[in-house]
Protein backbone atom coordinates (compact mmCIF):
# COMPACT_ATOMS: atom_id res chain seq x y z
CA UNK A 1 0.00 0.00 0.00
CA UNK A 2 1.17 3.51 -0.82
CA UNK A 3 0.37 6.88 0.68
CA UNK A 4 -0.70 10.14 -0.86
CA UNK A 5 -0.59 13.37 1.13
CA UNK A 6 -2.38 16.36 -0.36
CA UNK A 7 -0.41 19.52 0.28
CA UNK A 8 -1.78 21.97 -2.25
CA UNK A 9 -4.28 24.72 -1.60
CA UNK A 10 -3.74 28.40 -1.04
CA UNK A 11 -4.24 28.56 2.74
CA UNK A 12 -6.38 31.66 2.28
CA UNK A 13 -8.28 31.08 5.54
CA UNK A 14 -5.00 31.13 7.45
CA UNK A 15 -3.79 34.49 6.22
CA UNK A 16 -1.64 36.33 7.15
CA UNK A 17 0.25 33.27 8.49
CA UNK A 18 0.20 31.70 5.02
CA UNK A 19 1.42 34.82 3.21
CA UNK A 20 4.93 33.55 3.86
CA UNK A 21 4.51 29.78 3.76
CA UNK A 22 2.14 26.90 3.10
CA UNK A 23 -0.52 25.97 5.63
CA UNK A 24 0.86 22.44 5.90
CA UNK A 25 3.97 23.81 7.63
CA UNK A 26 2.12 25.79 10.30
CA UNK A 27 3.13 24.17 13.58
CA UNK A 28 0.80 22.46 16.01
CA UNK A 29 2.56 21.84 19.33
CA UNK A 30 5.76 22.95 17.58
CA UNK A 31 5.50 20.35 14.80
CA UNK A 32 4.38 21.18 11.24
CA UNK A 33 0.90 19.85 10.53
CA UNK A 34 2.02 17.76 7.55
CA UNK A 35 4.47 15.83 9.73
CA UNK A 36 1.57 14.31 11.69
CA UNK A 37 0.23 12.78 8.48
CA UNK A 38 3.63 11.46 7.40
CA UNK A 39 4.11 9.85 10.81
CA UNK A 40 0.61 8.33 10.79
CA UNK A 41 1.31 6.72 7.42
CA UNK A 42 4.67 5.39 8.56
CA UNK A 43 3.14 3.94 11.72
CA UNK A 44 0.57 2.17 9.55
CA UNK A 45 3.46 0.56 7.65
CA UNK A 46 3.24 2.83 4.60
CA UNK A 47 6.61 4.22 3.57
CA UNK A 48 6.21 4.99 -0.14
CA UNK A 49 4.50 8.37 -0.09
CA UNK A 50 3.54 10.79 -2.83
CA UNK A 51 3.16 14.43 -1.85
CA UNK A 52 0.74 16.39 -4.01
CA UNK A 53 1.86 20.01 -4.39
CA UNK A 54 0.06 23.01 -5.79
CA UNK A 55 1.53 26.24 -7.09
CA UNK A 56 2.07 27.75 -3.64
CA UNK A 57 4.63 26.74 -1.05
CA UNK A 58 6.01 23.76 -2.90
CA UNK A 59 9.66 24.75 -2.40
CA UNK A 60 9.16 25.10 1.36
CA UNK A 61 7.45 21.73 1.67
CA UNK A 62 10.17 20.00 -0.36
CA UNK A 63 12.85 21.70 1.73
CA UNK A 64 11.20 20.49 4.93
CA UNK A 65 10.47 16.89 3.89
CA UNK A 66 13.37 16.33 1.49
CA UNK A 67 13.44 12.80 0.11
CA UNK A 68 11.65 11.58 3.23
CA UNK A 69 14.62 9.72 4.68
CA UNK A 70 14.66 12.01 7.72
CA UNK A 71 11.15 10.78 8.49
CA UNK A 72 11.72 7.11 7.67
CA UNK A 73 9.81 7.23 4.37
CA UNK A 74 10.49 7.53 0.64
CA UNK A 75 8.85 10.59 -0.94
CA UNK A 76 7.89 11.32 -4.55
CA UNK A 77 6.63 14.81 -5.37
CA UNK A 78 3.64 15.24 -7.66
CA UNK A 79 2.83 18.70 -9.01
CA UNK A 80 -0.91 19.19 -9.44
CA UNK A 81 -0.72 22.90 -10.23
CA UNK A 82 -4.12 24.51 -9.94
CA UNK A 83 -6.46 23.12 -7.26
CA UNK A 84 -8.73 21.13 -9.56
CA UNK A 85 -10.16 18.98 -6.78
CA UNK A 86 -9.30 15.98 -4.64
CA UNK A 87 -10.16 13.55 -7.44
CA UNK A 88 -7.84 15.40 -9.82
CA UNK A 89 -5.09 15.23 -7.20
CA UNK A 90 -5.60 11.48 -6.87
CA UNK A 91 -5.55 11.02 -10.64
CA UNK A 92 -2.23 12.88 -10.88
CA UNK A 93 -0.79 10.08 -8.73
CA UNK A 94 -1.96 7.25 -10.99
CA UNK A 95 1.52 6.36 -12.31
CA UNK A 96 2.99 6.64 -8.80
CA UNK A 97 0.33 4.36 -7.31
CA UNK A 98 0.40 1.78 -10.10
CA UNK A 99 -1.53 -1.36 -9.16
CA UNK A 100 -1.34 -0.76 -5.40
CA UNK A 101 -4.02 0.32 -2.98
CA UNK A 102 -3.36 3.70 -1.44
CA UNK A 103 -4.25 5.98 1.43
CA UNK A 104 -5.14 9.56 0.56
CA UNK A 105 -4.56 11.89 3.50
CA UNK A 106 -5.35 15.60 3.57
CA UNK A 107 -2.13 17.28 4.63
CA UNK A 108 -3.75 19.84 6.90
CA UNK A 109 -5.65 17.27 8.98
CA UNK A 110 -4.64 15.69 12.28
CA UNK A 111 -6.05 12.55 13.83
CA UNK A 112 -5.58 11.53 17.43
CA UNK A 113 -5.40 7.81 16.81
CA UNK A 114 -3.72 7.55 13.42
CA UNK A 115 -4.58 5.19 10.57
CA UNK A 116 -3.45 1.74 11.58
CA UNK A 117 -6.84 0.35 12.58
CA UNK A 118 -8.51 1.67 9.43
CA UNK A 119 -5.79 0.24 7.16
CA UNK A 120 -5.90 -3.18 8.88
CA UNK A 121 -9.69 -3.41 8.54
CA UNK A 122 -9.53 -2.43 4.86
CA UNK A 123 -6.93 -5.09 4.13
CA UNK A 124 -9.12 -7.84 5.59
CA UNK A 125 -11.98 -7.20 3.15
CA UNK A 126 -12.63 -6.92 -0.57
CA UNK A 127 -13.31 -3.23 -0.80
CA UNK A 128 -12.85 -0.73 -3.61
CA UNK A 129 -12.45 2.03 -1.04
CA UNK A 130 -12.82 2.94 2.60
CA UNK A 131 -13.69 6.33 4.02
CA UNK A 132 -13.04 7.79 7.46
CA UNK A 133 -16.13 9.18 9.18
CA UNK A 134 -16.82 11.06 12.36
CA UNK A 135 -19.99 12.02 14.19
CA UNK A 136 -20.56 15.77 13.91
CA UNK A 137 -23.02 18.21 15.45
CA UNK A 138 -23.66 20.11 12.21
CA UNK A 139 -24.05 17.52 9.42
CA UNK A 140 -25.53 20.05 7.00
CA UNK A 141 -22.06 21.61 6.74
CA UNK A 142 -20.29 18.40 5.66
CA UNK A 143 -20.25 15.63 3.13
CA UNK A 144 -22.35 12.96 4.85
CA UNK A 145 -22.32 9.17 4.47
CA UNK A 146 -25.19 6.76 4.88
CA UNK A 147 -24.00 3.32 6.02
CA UNK A 148 -25.61 -0.05 6.69
CA UNK A 149 -25.24 -2.15 9.86
CA UNK A 150 -21.88 -3.55 8.70
CA UNK A 151 -20.49 -0.11 8.03
CA UNK A 152 -20.71 -0.49 4.25
CA UNK A 153 -21.41 2.88 2.63
CA UNK A 154 -24.67 3.07 0.74
CA UNK A 155 -24.76 6.75 -0.18
CA UNK A 156 -22.73 9.96 -0.04
CA UNK A 157 -24.42 13.35 0.06
CA UNK A 158 -22.63 16.69 -0.04
CA UNK A 159 -23.97 19.18 2.56
CA UNK A 160 -27.50 17.70 2.65
CA UNK A 161 -30.55 19.74 3.68
CA UNK A 162 -31.93 16.65 5.42
CA UNK A 163 -28.93 14.56 6.49
CA UNK A 164 -29.70 10.85 6.90
CA UNK A 165 -26.89 10.47 9.45
CA UNK A 166 -24.44 12.65 11.37
CA UNK A 167 -21.45 10.81 9.90
CA UNK A 168 -19.21 13.29 8.12
CA UNK A 169 -16.36 12.44 5.77
CA UNK A 170 -13.05 13.44 7.31
CA UNK A 171 -9.67 13.75 5.67
CA UNK A 172 -8.57 10.15 5.06
CA UNK A 173 -9.57 7.80 2.25
CA UNK A 174 -8.33 4.35 1.21
CA UNK A 175 -8.63 3.42 -2.43
CA UNK A 176 -8.02 0.54 -4.76
CA UNK A 177 -6.90 1.47 -8.30
CA UNK A 178 -10.59 1.17 -9.29
CA UNK A 179 -10.94 4.79 -8.22
CA UNK A 180 -8.97 5.90 -11.29
CA UNK A 181 -11.52 4.48 -13.69
CA UNK A 182 -14.26 6.26 -11.73
CA UNK A 183 -12.35 9.54 -11.97
CA UNK A 184 -11.94 9.07 -15.73
CA UNK A 185 -15.71 9.22 -16.03
CA UNK A 186 -16.20 12.31 -13.87
CA UNK A 187 -17.10 15.78 -15.03
CA UNK A 188 -16.09 18.89 -13.08
CA UNK A 189 -18.61 20.03 -10.48
CA UNK A 190 -20.28 23.45 -10.41
CA UNK A 191 -17.14 24.83 -8.79
CA UNK A 192 -14.93 23.45 -11.57
CA UNK A 193 -13.37 20.70 -9.46
CA UNK A 194 -13.28 16.93 -9.77
CA UNK A 195 -15.00 15.86 -6.54
CA UNK A 196 -13.77 12.76 -4.75
CA UNK A 197 -17.25 12.22 -3.30
CA UNK A 198 -18.60 11.96 -6.87
CA UNK A 199 -15.94 9.36 -7.69
CA UNK A 200 -16.81 7.29 -4.59
CA UNK A 201 -20.53 7.59 -5.32
CA UNK A 202 -19.79 6.30 -8.81
CA UNK A 203 -18.03 3.26 -7.31
CA UNK A 204 -21.09 2.58 -5.14
CA UNK A 205 -23.44 2.84 -8.13
CA UNK A 206 -21.21 0.43 -10.08
CA UNK A 207 -21.67 -2.16 -7.32
CA UNK A 208 -18.34 -1.82 -5.54
CA UNK A 209 -18.23 -2.29 -1.77
CA UNK A 210 -17.10 0.81 0.15
CA UNK A 211 -16.10 0.33 3.76
CA UNK A 212 -16.25 3.01 6.43
CA UNK A 213 -14.32 3.61 9.62
CA UNK A 214 -15.69 5.83 12.35
CA UNK A 215 -12.71 7.67 13.77
CA UNK A 216 -12.09 7.25 17.48
CA UNK A 217 -10.83 10.29 19.28
CA UNK A 218 -10.60 13.73 17.85
CA UNK A 219 -9.97 14.86 14.30
CA UNK A 220 -9.04 18.40 13.30
CA UNK A 221 -8.95 20.19 9.99
CA UNK A 222 -6.45 22.99 10.62
CA UNK A 223 -7.64 25.34 7.93
CA UNK A 224 -8.37 28.36 10.14
CA UNK A 225 -6.48 30.10 12.96
CA UNK A 226 -8.93 28.89 15.60
CA UNK A 227 -8.46 25.36 14.27
CA UNK A 228 -4.69 25.59 14.73
CA UNK A 229 -5.18 26.78 18.32
CA UNK A 230 -7.75 24.02 18.90
CA UNK A 231 -5.51 21.30 17.45
CA UNK A 232 -2.60 22.63 19.49
CA UNK A 233 -4.72 22.25 22.63
CA UNK A 234 -5.69 18.68 21.74
CA UNK A 235 -2.12 17.58 20.96
CA UNK A 236 -0.76 19.21 24.13
CA UNK A 237 -3.29 17.19 26.15
CA UNK A 238 -1.10 14.15 25.52
CA UNK A 239 2.44 15.48 25.94
CA UNK A 240 4.78 14.35 28.66
CA UNK A 241 6.95 16.53 30.84
CA UNK A 242 10.56 16.62 29.69
CA UNK A 243 13.44 18.93 30.37
CA UNK A 244 16.29 19.29 27.89
CA UNK A 245 16.97 22.87 28.92
CA UNK A 246 17.75 24.80 32.10
CA UNK A 247 15.07 25.53 34.67
CA UNK A 248 16.02 27.86 37.55
CA UNK A 249 15.09 26.44 40.96
CA UNK A 250 13.01 29.53 41.67
CA UNK A 251 10.94 29.18 38.52
CA UNK A 252 7.46 27.80 39.20
CA UNK A 253 6.49 24.94 36.84
CA UNK A 254 3.42 22.81 37.41
CA UNK A 255 1.68 20.32 35.16
CA UNK A 256 3.31 18.85 32.09
CA UNK A 257 5.90 21.19 30.61
CA UNK A 258 8.09 20.05 27.71
CA UNK A 259 11.28 22.11 27.69
CA UNK A 260 13.40 21.96 24.53
CA UNK A 261 17.18 21.92 24.22
CA UNK A 262 18.92 25.19 24.90
CA UNK A 263 15.82 26.70 26.50
CA UNK A 264 16.19 28.71 29.70
CA UNK A 265 13.47 29.34 32.27
CA UNK A 266 14.60 32.05 34.64
CA UNK A 267 13.84 32.71 38.30
CA UNK A 268 10.35 34.07 38.86
CA UNK A 269 8.83 32.68 35.66
CA UNK A 270 5.54 30.82 36.12
CA UNK A 271 4.44 28.05 33.73
CA UNK A 272 1.28 25.98 34.03
CA UNK A 273 1.20 22.97 31.70
CA UNK A 274 0.47 21.50 29.37
CA UNK A 275 2.97 23.73 27.66
CA UNK A 276 5.62 22.97 25.06
CA UNK A 277 8.67 25.20 24.69
CA UNK A 278 10.87 24.72 21.62
CA UNK A 279 14.63 25.03 21.41
CA UNK A 280 16.54 28.12 22.50
CA UNK A 281 13.54 29.78 24.11
CA UNK A 282 14.04 32.18 27.00
CA UNK A 283 11.30 32.69 29.58
CA UNK A 284 12.13 35.64 31.79
CA UNK A 285 11.02 36.73 35.28
CA UNK A 286 7.46 38.03 35.70
CA UNK A 287 6.31 35.96 32.73
CA UNK A 288 3.35 33.61 32.89
CA UNK A 289 2.81 30.88 30.31
CA UNK A 290 -0.53 29.22 30.83
CA UNK A 291 -2.05 25.92 29.69
CA UNK A 292 -2.22 24.88 26.04
CA UNK A 293 0.54 27.14 24.81
CA UNK A 294 3.33 26.19 22.41
CA UNK A 295 6.27 28.54 22.00
CA UNK A 296 8.41 27.92 18.91
CA UNK A 297 12.20 27.91 18.69
CA UNK A 298 14.36 31.00 19.27
CA UNK A 299 11.68 33.01 21.05
CA UNK A 300 11.84 35.22 24.13
CA UNK A 301 8.97 35.60 26.58
CA UNK A 302 9.71 38.28 29.16
CA UNK A 303 6.77 39.99 30.77
CA UNK A 304 3.49 38.88 29.27
CA UNK A 305 0.81 36.53 30.45
CA UNK A 306 0.16 34.13 27.56
CA UNK A 307 -2.10 31.11 27.42
CA UNK A 308 -3.93 28.86 24.95
CA UNK A 309 -1.76 30.21 22.15
CA UNK A 310 0.62 29.21 19.38
CA UNK A 311 3.84 31.15 18.80
CA UNK A 312 5.44 29.85 15.62
CA UNK A 313 8.98 30.95 16.48
CA UNK A 314 11.64 33.70 16.53
CA UNK A 315 9.29 35.99 18.45
CA UNK A 316 10.09 38.57 21.09
CA UNK A 317 7.22 38.95 23.55
CA UNK A 318 8.18 41.51 26.16
CA UNK A 319 5.09 43.66 26.69
CA UNK A 320 3.38 43.47 30.08
CA UNK A 321 0.10 42.36 28.60
CA UNK A 322 -2.28 39.40 28.52
CA UNK A 323 -2.29 37.29 25.36
CA UNK A 324 -5.02 34.68 25.04
CA UNK A 325 -6.04 32.49 22.07
CA UNK A 326 -3.29 34.00 19.89
CA UNK A 327 -1.61 32.65 16.77
CA UNK A 328 1.61 34.58 16.19
CA UNK A 329 3.54 34.04 12.97
CA UNK A 330 7.28 33.60 12.73
CA UNK A 331 9.20 36.67 13.80
CA UNK A 332 6.12 38.47 15.16
CA UNK A 333 7.13 40.68 18.10
CA UNK A 334 4.99 42.20 20.85
CA UNK A 335 6.97 44.71 22.84
CA UNK A 336 6.02 47.53 25.19
CA UNK A 337 4.84 50.99 24.12
CA UNK A 338 5.33 52.30 27.67
CA UNK A 339 7.14 55.62 27.73
CA UNK A 340 6.49 56.36 24.08
CA UNK A 341 4.71 59.61 23.27
CA UNK A 342 2.09 60.16 22.17
CA UNK A 343 0.68 57.24 24.11
CA UNK A 344 -0.85 54.44 22.12
CA UNK A 345 -0.24 51.15 20.40
CA UNK A 346 2.33 50.99 17.60
CA UNK A 347 1.25 48.42 15.05
CA UNK A 348 2.88 47.16 11.89
CA UNK A 349 0.27 44.72 10.65
CA UNK A 350 0.19 42.75 7.42
CA UNK A 351 -2.74 42.11 5.15
CA UNK A 352 -5.54 39.93 6.56
CA UNK A 353 -4.33 40.28 10.14
CA UNK A 354 -6.79 40.34 13.02
CA UNK A 355 -6.19 42.20 16.28
CA UNK A 356 -8.52 42.50 19.27
CA UNK A 357 -7.09 45.21 21.54
Amino acid sequence: MKGLVLAGGTGSRLRPITHTGPKQLVPVANKPVIQYGIEDLREAGITEIGIILGDKGREEIQSFLGDGSGFGVDITYIIQGEPLGLAHAAACARDFVGDDDFVMYLGDNIFKRGLTEMVERYETGEYAASIALQHVDTPRQFGIANVDDEGTVTELIEKPDEPPTDLALVGVYLFSPAIFDAIDELEPSWRGELEITDAIQSLIEDGHAIDSHVVDGWWKDTGKPEDIIGANRLVLEDIEATNDGEVHPDADLTGRVDVGAGTTIESGAVIRGPVRLGENVTVGPDSYIGPYTAIGDDSTVAGPHIENSVVVGKSELTADTRLVDCLLGRGANITSADGLLPEGNRLVVGENSNLKL
Binding site: G50, L53, R58, E59, Q62, S63, T76, Y77, I78, I79, Q80, G81, E82, P83, L84, H88, A91, C92, A93, R94, D95, F96, I183, D184, L186, E187, P188, G192, E193, L194
Partner: protein
Protein backbone atom coordinates in the same frame (compact mmCIF):
# COMPACT_ATOMS: atom_id res chain seq x y z
CA UNK B 1 -12.11 13.70 -16.93
CA UNK B 2 -8.83 12.76 -18.45
CA UNK B 3 -5.77 13.44 -16.29
CA UNK B 4 -2.27 13.01 -17.74
CA UNK B 5 1.13 13.54 -16.17
CA UNK B 6 4.78 13.66 -17.15
CA UNK B 7 7.64 12.38 -15.00
CA UNK B 8 10.89 14.31 -14.89
CA UNK B 9 13.58 11.98 -16.31
CA UNK B 10 16.18 13.49 -13.99
CA UNK B 11 14.59 13.53 -10.51
CA UNK B 12 11.32 11.61 -10.81
CA UNK B 13 9.04 14.51 -9.92
CA UNK B 14 5.64 14.04 -11.52
CA UNK B 15 4.09 17.08 -13.22
CA UNK B 16 0.44 17.28 -14.27
CA UNK B 17 -0.13 17.92 -17.96
CA UNK B 18 -2.25 20.96 -17.14
CA UNK B 19 0.86 22.58 -15.60
CA UNK B 20 2.87 21.89 -18.73
CA UNK B 21 0.07 23.21 -20.93
CA UNK B 22 -0.15 26.39 -18.85
CA UNK B 23 3.58 27.07 -18.47
CA UNK B 24 4.71 25.50 -21.77
CA UNK B 25 8.37 25.36 -20.71
CA UNK B 26 9.56 25.26 -17.11
CA UNK B 27 12.41 24.25 -14.91
CA UNK B 28 11.44 21.03 -13.12
CA UNK B 29 9.70 21.95 -9.84
CA UNK B 30 11.72 19.27 -8.05
CA UNK B 31 14.04 20.98 -5.61
CA UNK B 32 17.56 21.44 -7.02
CA UNK B 33 16.62 19.76 -10.31
CA UNK B 34 17.77 21.70 -13.33
CA UNK B 35 15.88 19.68 -15.92
CA UNK B 36 13.85 21.70 -18.40
CA UNK B 37 10.37 20.29 -18.94
CA UNK B 38 8.45 21.22 -22.05
CA UNK B 39 4.86 20.85 -23.17
CA UNK B 40 6.21 19.00 -26.19
CA UNK B 41 7.44 16.24 -23.86
CA UNK B 42 3.82 15.08 -23.96
CA UNK B 43 2.55 13.12 -26.93
CA UNK B 44 0.88 15.05 -29.72
CA UNK B 45 -2.46 13.44 -28.90
CA UNK B 46 -2.25 14.49 -25.23
CA UNK B 47 -1.18 18.02 -26.19
CA UNK B 48 -4.12 18.35 -28.53
CA UNK B 49 -6.52 17.18 -25.82
CA UNK B 50 -5.22 19.70 -23.29
CA UNK B 51 -5.22 22.56 -25.77
CA UNK B 52 -8.73 21.75 -26.93
CA UNK B 53 -10.04 21.48 -23.36
CA UNK B 54 -7.90 24.18 -21.74
CA UNK B 55 -10.77 25.80 -19.80
CA UNK B 56 -11.62 22.56 -18.00
CA UNK B 57 -8.16 22.45 -16.45
CA UNK B 58 -8.17 25.98 -15.08
CA UNK B 59 -9.83 27.50 -12.05
CA UNK B 60 -10.64 31.18 -12.56
Amino acid sequence: MRVETHTCPNCGTVVAANVLERDRRLRCPGLDCGEILDFTDLSEEVREHYETNRDRYRID
